[in-house]
Amino acid sequence: MATPIAERGYAHPDVLVSTDWVQEHLHDPKVRLIESDEDTLLYASGHLPGACNVDWTADLNDQVRRDYISRAAFEGLMSRLGVTNDTSVVFYGDKNNWWATYAFWVFQLFGHSNARVMDGGRLKWEKEGRPMTREVPSYARTQYKASDRNDLPHRAYQNDVLSHIRTQGQLVDVRSPEEYAGTRLHMPDYPNEGALRGGHIPGAKSVPWARAVNPDDGTFKPASELKKLYCEDQRLSPSQETIAYCRIGERSSHTWFALKYLLGFENVRNYDGSWTEWGNSVGVPIEK
């Protein structure tokens, strides 16, 4: 059994909630559960009672250019979900909360900081035999008002990364060791999405994202183990500016979450352009 969240030594333990906590708040009108998965069939096959679905491609990404939705679209999404500016949103999903943390990260671009992640995600809830339903909830529309999207504190662009490596800033490559080494251009068992070059951004430390979770139940490891992983083994300093990246920014949002909220890194950003941008860019430096 996982150690209670409050006893794991996290910098900001309030961003993580247990499956017990979620079950106790299933009918709390101030809480909105949001499932975000890679597998688009999962939500329809059954979800937590009262949970809404947020699709990372259809709901969070601009449908024309490679970018996130506008403020107006985010306000529309939140209103459709029946979320007010005071609602506490709790994300969960498949793959140890990859997409849940990705959605959480996008929500931060719009300043919805009243957000949490359910530790262990969907699989833990299912394995514990907790209630699931296929009933899609309907909530009264709200008039959500978002801030202008502010990428600066949370998101790094390619030019930011180029500046960052010139000053030998901290970079974390969260992809598989094979992707980091450049021996493969995509995740194991995933299609090649067309990066022309393999390798990693110069100076990046390799810490595959999944090392932050317990493989048996998908819960985050306690702070002591995370500190060893990132701070001791890889000599990453919580006080220094840090950028995490992967392939499209989804796995690295998981690491971004762990570094920022669980270990208290003061300035950590997610480079969502990641390897699909870097590995296709002309003239950028690459290490193998």
Partner: protein
């Protein structure tokens, strides 16, 4: 490509579906999933029957019948393996009772025709791998039936 009749008809039917219908139908198939019976295999399943690259931890068995047809059976160990269960049911319903040689001709392109918008990055290869595993078992059965 000519597919066995039941599979051909099912693929034609899926062509008519809008995304919502397709999702409902796939879930309906997933709900019909029945695991490999104990007379065929029991846990721990033999790794030689495991589908490679499948995150749903799927297993497949093809039992040769005296008339040269195959009976297909599946196990899907991941409780979130909705798509794998749906595909298993589709393959079982449309290919069990079909001659091994005809099953061997079914290729992985059926996955895209069945799942369309419901293929996610991670599961596409796993689902195609399930079809390829069936194809491989069928080819082995054909080879055993072919005189040296």
């Amino acid at each position: 490509m000519t597919y066995p009749e039941k599979l051909h008809d099912l693929l034609d039917m899926f062509e008519l579906f809008d995304p919502a219908d397709r999702t409902s139908m796939l879930l309906s198939y997933s709900d019909q999933f029945r695991e490999v019976p104990p007379e065929v295999a029991v846990r721990p399943f033999d790794r030689s029957h495991q589908v490679p690259h499948c995150e749903s931890d799927a297993y497949v068995w093809a039992i040769r019948q005296p008339d040269g047809t195959l009976d297909l059976h599946f196990a899907v160990e991941n409780p979130s393996g909705v798509s794998a269960r749906a595909l298993a049911v589709i393959l079982q319903k449309t290919l069990s009772g079909v001659q091994a040689a005809d099953i061997a001709a079914v290729d992985a392109s059926i996955v895209e025709r069945l799942f369309r918008q419901n293929i996610s990055m991670g599961k596409g290869l796993g689902l195609m791998s399930m079809v390829q595993a069936v194809q491989s078992l069928a080819r082995s059965a054909v080879a055993q039936d072919t005189p040296a």
